[in-house]
């Protein structure tokens, strides 16, 4: 995971962390690559066995330390390789997504989605859309404390 860059010039390149399930979305991304669909290059992919493995901690840590966006993608609901992993995951991820703004982190920097191994085209679309969304949000300051008011008066 990447720490925020202090120099805004470095921010031209976005840091988007992608957690992809091994059985569907990782395959989907592969399919997109094999088909030579044009994709933005900002995504750093981390393969996870299942979205059910996604501890919200992974996402929180990325965003706290200044990743510009986090994308989680797995098998379509009811299509999980482990039958129910993504059904647990979607509740957790939705709760997290709604929680982020309460703590002052833009919920739009986090997205979860479902892409199967055959959906190369859909993958291209998801990545492109999300990258554009993040680009429009600009760099994530993370939780550095630099903008925080001094704790003592």
């Amino acid at each position: 995971m990447t720490q925020s860059h202090d120099n805004p010039a470095h921010k031209q390149a976005l840091t988007i962390v992608g957690f992809l399930c091994n059985w569907c979305s990782y395959g989907g991304a592969d399919t997109a690559g094999v088909c030579r669909f044009k994709q933005p290059t900002d995504l750093r992919i981390i393969r996870v066995p299942c979205t059910g493995r996604m501890d919200p901690l992974f996402i929180a840590r990325s965003l706290i330390l200044g990743a510009d966006g986090v994308l989680v993608s797995g098998c379509h609901p009811k299509d999980c390789h482990y039958a129910v992993g993504n059904l647990y995951a979607r509740r957790r991820l939705e709760v997290l997504k709604r929680m982020l703004p309460f703590m002052g982190i833009d919920g739009d920097r986090f997205r979860y989605t479902w892409v199967s191994a055959s959906e190369g085209q859909r993958w291209q679309q998801v990545v492109t859309e999300f990258s554009e969304q993040i680009r429009s949000l600009g760099p994530n300051p993370g939780v550095t404390g630099k903008s925080a008011a001094a704790a003592t008066a």
């Binding site: 919200p56 929180a60 840590r61 330390l65 009811k78 647990y88 509740r91 703590m103 002052g104 404390g145």
Partner: protein, 322 residues
């Protein structure tokens, strides 16, 4: 009033004692404003039990540990005194099968609210508090600067002013008569709503300012009746190493964020995390915000129905909208 309830408590504890191996309650602390938990293992000590608006600790925090350590010999039970809010913690433990109902004898204490010492100190200013009298709905605070009178409601804890469950939701015996709840669920999330009205940047600045004071003493975690994995916490493990030992803001922010997320759909809003914080960080707000989310999204409130499974420990294949 209090002395009547206290003798009723003693009487009911005496009656229950033959079936108990242990009774967890409150006793007088080091001064009149403080109570401390007591573990009664001898009926002669029942007289130590007290009940008053200072009985702040949520005794459910001890329940899982004593349950694990207890042999249940001779079918003896563990007795525990609970307020309305505390009873919800107990139910949450039951929901997760961390304790077994039949092993407990629950003494329910309908509760008009607990006094927030910080509010008393704020009212007395620099002057030392000499004594505090609570009579029905009025408080008389005597300090070196004189005597102040104000309504009890004004010095209750934040959680009490938004309390929807003054009566224990689970009990074997009640001490006193059931009370009428004060607010509806809508008003209960006023404090969360106040934060939500801030801009994203203001919210971040608010939490950065508050959480920066954190000492990482982990009292909020250890005082939580539902933080059951505290000796194996991400805050302290080195392998995997999620947090450094630095006192930087990201570490503190991360700890509190994850602490709260682990309580999503589980927190019963007993407010202990916030009360115990020596740096007075409003950490319970984070959990309240999560509860608001789980209520809206998954129609679930923790600690109400012992039969229900917390929503993040289960799934619904048919649900839509997420």
């Amino acid at each position: 009033m209090n002395s009547d309830l206290r003798s009723e408590l003693h009487k009911k504890a005496e009656q229950a004692w033959p079936d108990l191996e242990l009774l967890i309650g409150w006793q007088a602390g080091y001064d009149d404003l403080h109570t401390t938990p007591v573990f009664i293992r001898d009926s002669a000590e029942i007289s130590k039990l007290i009940w008053n608006p200072w009985c702040t600790q949520n005794l459910a925090v001890y329940v899982a540990k004593h349950f694990a350590a207890s042999s249940g010999k001779d079918d003896k039970k563990i007795g525990v005194c609970v307020k309305g809010c505390d009873s919800r913690s107990l139910i949450a433990l039951l929901q997760e099968n961390l304790v077994a109902r039949e092993r407990f004898y629950i003494i329910g204490m309908p509760c008009k609210g607990i006094v927030d010492l910080r509010k008393l100190h704020a009212l007395s200013g620099a002057a030392r508090i000499l004594s505090v009298q609570v009579n029905a709905e009025q408080v008389a605070l005597k300090s070196a600067a004189g005597v102040l009178h104000f309504p009890l409601d004004e010095v209750l804890m934040r959680k009490c002013r938004r309390c929807r469950y003054p009566n224990p939701l689970i009990h074997d015996v009640l001490v006193g008569d059931p009370l009428t709840p004060r607010t509806d669920a809508h008003e209960a999330y006023n404090d969360v709503a106040a934060i939500e009205r801030l801009s994203l940047q203001e919210r971040l600045a608010f939490w950065q300012g508050e959480l920066d004071r954190c000492l990482r003493c982990y009292a909020c975690r250890n005082a939580c009746p539902l933080c059951v994995c505290q000796d194996r916490c991400i805050a302290e493990t080195r392998d995997p190493k999620w947090l450094t030992q630095y006192m930087h803001l990201p570490e503190k922010f991360m700890f509190h964020f994850i602490h709260a997320l682990h309580l999503a759909g589980r927190c019963t809003e007993c407010g202990e995390c916030e009360r115990v914080c020596p740096m007075e960080i409003p950490v319970a707000l984070i959990k309240e915000a999560l509860n608001k989310i789980t209520l809206e999204l998954l129609d679930f409130e923790a600690g109400l129905d012992p039969q229900r499974v917390p929503p993040l420990l289960t799934f619904d294949a048919g649900e839509t909208g997420i």
